[in-house]
Symmetry: C2
Subunit: 190 residues, 2 copies
Amino acid sequence: MFGQIPPGAPLTLRGIGREFDVSMTPAREAVQRLVAEGALSMSASGRVSTPELSNDRIEELAALRALLEVELASRAIPRAHMALIDRLQTINTGISEIVANRDAAGYIRANLEFHRTLYLRAQAPAMLAMAETVWLQLGPTMRALYTRLRRSEAPHYHRLIIAALKAGDEPGLRLAVRSDVTQGLKMLVG
Amino acid sequence: MFGQIPPGAPLTLRGIGREFDVSMTPAREAVQRLVAEGALSMSASGRVSTPELSNDRIEELAALRALLEVELASRAIPRAHMALIDRLQTINTGISEIVANRDAAGYIRANLEFHRTLYLRAQAPAMLAMAETVWLQLGPTMRALYTRLRRSEAPHYHRLIIAALKAGDEPGLRLAVRSDVTQGLKMLVG
DNA sequence: CATGGCACCATGTGATCACAAACGCGGGCG
DNA sequence: CGCCCGCGTTTGTGATCACATGGTGCCATG
């Protein structure tokens, strides 16, 4: 999910087992679950690797993010108090520091934490789970995105999200979330 | 997914293994995958059963269906030719016959086939997969719904969907799909 | 008769093994 | 020099086993 593994990297059950000091059985179960969620892809012969997404697939997943996350943000508005906004602001300044260190996985993790913190307030666990499934599928690809665009500052759409949240401006929030979610991925397919 | 199992039914690995003439290992993998997708729920002790959904959860899943399926229908419009509409109509008349036989699982299966046939045209596999995941979660509950409401005719929203499709009327289609998807579930939480 | 405890049985987990398939590398041939 | 075949090794799959845990039903006791 955090882009620690590049797209197309092969994984083996015995390798994973060695890495985490377990036998093949738990490794298999974990891998199969991730395959079921689309986070890993399995060849016809059962070989497993991180997915290399086609442009069409990336666009589709971006559309899914927009669809789900706009709805989640919208549902979070009524419950968004000052404590939440403060927390979002803290995370956001943290992102600026991480960006300075050129830490791809850290950036992705902090960025998703920003979003998850907001969406938790929507009180919609199934919807949040689906959004996280999409994040999982995009993880390796987002790493590739980050290393390509060499971002130098925190995403300014986060500031728009916070502003819309403060103002209780639902249409503004929906637009800001959609833009934030879509922005990066557009660069990737271009 | 088709409501063949009522909510709350317990499942055991050895039982599933016996039923399908395999050992525990494949049964475990299948069960764990279904748990990951939310189609089965697992207690803290690892016991597995079909989920008994709360009203909140049902409403959330209905909202997800609306969100995803409206988008899928919308994307299917440009590719919806006459052959597709014919197929939908055939499925729909099939539903009428099934309804007469009081066959809950058959009804659910045919109903979902109607929707899937339409959504396949959207060329959005990830989105369709998510919709199917929601269907999976709702399966046992939909059975309960069907046996409660004792439907006597095919859903008339299907006719609206077909009509909107013929007319190329996107807003009409979105509304019809949203209504069809939401209608039954409303009855359940009431 | 109700209730609490106890023993047994069923159940999930992780490890290990046997096996088949496929991947990759090397050598030989065109 | 390039391509293809073949073999060895790696890999995934399914079965089976040992074990710990939790659920259940029975029995004894108040």
